[in-house]
């Protein structure tokens, strides 16, 4: 069954959602000139908040809202620290990642009396489907993530806010001279990054129907790699995410047929990114620092 192409396509789309959400969020904040390496923490925060809200209300929609809101707050905090308190963006990202992981354990213990996971959660339950493709697509989080690809592109290139965002990131001094409030624009970019990436954590939670302390599994870092591979442009970035998801789906599909150590496949996105950095290294530098 796992060899059928539509199963493979469906699995690839499903697995790409957290990558796409995180990477598109990162595109927004990086284009505004605020580096965010706390995407992994954003997945943890949004997943946990989605689980808590869904568990408390009994509604997956409330969970989705809670996850997105918490992630937006978390990344707004990063924006405030970087833009207002002048904390180095890398330092803030590291600290926020650490805090997110620590806090998730405390919340799990206190609210669910568990060291590692939440109880089973309500889902969206948009019908039961025989065919694998509609089964994956009949999910509001997946549909939202797909809609975000053209959505983020349009936001960046067809709206005034997007123009300001890019201006603040490309040349802050010129943007300020043109009357743009660079700090507010960068805060907006940071917050939007959280809201978008928060979909990723919500997807992980509602896909598995529970929250698990280790469930982000490095996806926030893979998303960072996708952002670099895609050159900070929404469509190429989303394609890079699909590529990484296809790699993951391939590994799962072939693991029964040929024995490839899973760790080897796990490394590929990172090795690919390093090789790309080595050949056209300026890409990794473009958004990360002036010198």
């Amino acid at each position: 069954v796992s060899g059928r192409p539509e199963v493979f396509a469906a699995e690839t789309i499903r697995m790409s959602v957290p990558y796409v959400a995180c990477a598109l969020g990162a595109v927004l904040t990086e284009r505004a000139g605020v580096v965010n390496i706390a995407l992994e923490g954003t997945l943890v925060v949004s997943g946990l908040a989605a689980a808590v809200a869904a568990h408390a209300s009994g509604s997956a929609w409330a969970g989705l809202l809670g996850g997105v809101a918490a992630a937006a707050l978390y990344c707004a905090g990063h924006g405030l620290l970087v833009v207002k308190a002048r904390v180095d963006a890398i330092v803030s990202g590291i600290a926020l990642n650490i805090i997110a992981f620590g806090l998730s354990r405390v919340v799990l213990r206190v609210l669910f009396d568990s060291a590692s996971n939440s109880p089973r959660l309500p889902g969206f339950g948009w019908g039961t489907w025989e065919h694998p493709l509609p089964r994956v697509l009949a999910d509001p989080v997946v549909l939202l993530a797909i809609a975000l690809v053209p959505g983020i592109w349009a936001l960046l290139h067809r709206t005034r806010a997007g123009l300001r965002l890019r201006a603040a990131g490309d040349n802050a001094a010129a943007a300020a001279a043109a009357g743009i409030s660079v700090p507010s624009v960068q805060l907006l970019g940071s917050t939007l990054c959280g809201a978008v990436a928060g979909l990723g954590g919500a997807h992980l939670v509602f896909d598995q129907r529970h929250f698990d302390a280790g469930m982000s599994g490095g996806r926030g870092f893979i998303a960072l790699a996708a952002v670099i591979l895609g050159g900070y442009r929404p469509l190429p970035v989303a394609l890079a995410c699909l590529g990484f998801a296809a790699l993951e789906a391939t590994q799962i599909a072939v693991q029964d047929l040929v024995h490839v150590p899973p760790e080897l496949v796990q490394m590929l996105p990172y090795v690919g990114t390093l090789v790309l950095l080595g050949t056209i290294g300026r890409l990794g530098k473009r958004r990360l620092g002036p010198n």
Binding site: V82, R86, R105, V110, I222, E263, Y270, G284, L288, P290
Partner: protein, 357 residues
């Protein structure tokens, strides 16, 4: 006289600023600690007393704090060396993991009866070389391809995360989780052998090595020609290039040394405590070391103090684990990093370009 008075005022101003910052950080720590333990249903004051007596209250507790502080201090010194060159070595964690695997493999492969004076240097050197080589990949990408070292070291960390279990599973491990036992000569003595009081705790003479490393790195960066050049490159690469300093080579050297010092952390974990490498041994110290470096501000005493602080938090986390998950201490030290970083800190080469102008 007025110049003297002015410099005196500036001096007391600087001390006042630093004291305010320390007081603020400690107050924040206590406040968060109380909030978290209250949130977890513990009595805050009681939890604080238990945390204090479980860390600095007994010789065993002190020994455990020193054990935790040792890899943290190595990691802090490692991060600091790269930071002097203006580089963010986020990859200390991965460099440590690969070095730890190397140390475990080499220490077990030595012939039985290799004398201490030969075995320990061989193991430490191989760990340092592997850590240094792994780090210098990021250094070389930065120096000669212009790739940002933060991205490169994050990728290298993730690769190391997969590479270590892969190698353990395919030939290098006794099982999939650990290496074979080290030969007797490659073990560092426990500090309990020197001071009876520490008997039973995990601290070894590696702690003294880490202190020596922090002083040694500080002196080398200050006193040697190459060390000073590394600091100048961090201040301004273009000026250095104009002065004929080989900027690229200095960047790679700073990363390599940083990774090598990170690799020396195996002295505490593999050589001083376990006697083998196992999955997860020393994990987290690489990221903790970033906090140590940021708190310690490049001075040996600062780094040692910061390593002891973070080590105390980690040990306190274990003491309180029954009521408050030990990961709660990560929240505390994440918050302290932010509190310290929010005050003026020498600017690195990264960050939000827009936010800085």
């Amino acid at each position: 006289v007025s110049a003297e008075a002015a410099s005196g005022a500036a001096w007391s101003g600087a001390v006042g600023e630093r004291a305010r910052r320390v007081i603020f950080a400690v107050a924040l720590l206590l406040l968060l600690f109380d909030l978290l333990s209250f949130f977890a249903g513990d009595a805050p004051l009681d939890a604080l007393v238990r945390a204090a007596s479980g860390t600095w209250g007994t010789p065993y507790g002190i020994g455990q704090v020193l054990y935790k502080a040792t890899p943290l201090l190595f990691a802090g010194v490692a991060f600091d060396i790269a930071y002097r060159a203006g580089l963010f070595n986020i990859g200390v964690e991965g460099q440590m993991a690969l070095a730890s695997l190397t140390a475990g493999v080499v220490a077990a492969a030595l012939p039985q009866g290799t004398p201490f004076a030969l075995a320990v240097p061989i193991v430490l050197l191989s760990a340092a070389v592997v850590g240094g080589l792994w780090a210098s990949i990021a250094g070389a990408l930065r120096a000669w391809a212009g790739a940002h070292e933060v991205i490169a070291t994050i990728m290298l960390n993730r690769i190391a995360d997969a590479l270590v279990p892969l190698l353990l599973n395919h030939g290098l491990g006794a099982t999939g989780f650990r290496t074979r036992d080290a030969v007797a000569g490659a073990r560092l003595p426990s500090l309990g052998r020197l001071a009876q009081a520490f008997e039973g705790s995990a601290v070894s003479v590696a702690f003294l090595l880490s202190v020596a490393a922090s002083v040694g790195a500080w002196a080398w960066l200050r006193r040697s020609r190459v060390g000073r050049e590394i600091g100048w490159v961090g201040q301004g690469a273009d000026v250095c290039r104009a002065e004929g300093i080989p900027v690229g080579r200095r960047l790679v050297l700073a990363m390599a040394l940083s990774g090598a010092v990170a690799g020396l952390a195996v002295s505490a974990t593999v050589l001083g405590y376990k006697g083998y490498h196992e999955t997860g041994l020393g994990a987290g110290a690489g990221f903790g070391g970033i906090a140590v470096a940021l708190l310690g501000k490049g001075r040996p005493l600062g780094l040692i103090g910061a390593a002891l602080l973070v080590g105390t938090l980690q040990q306190a986390g274990l003491v309180l684990n029954a009521t408050l998950p030990r990961e709660a201490m990560d929240v505390l030290f994440g918050a302290v990093i932010l509190a310290v970083a929010a005050s003026p800190f020498p600017e690195g080469n990264s960050g939000a370009p827009g936010a800085r102008s």
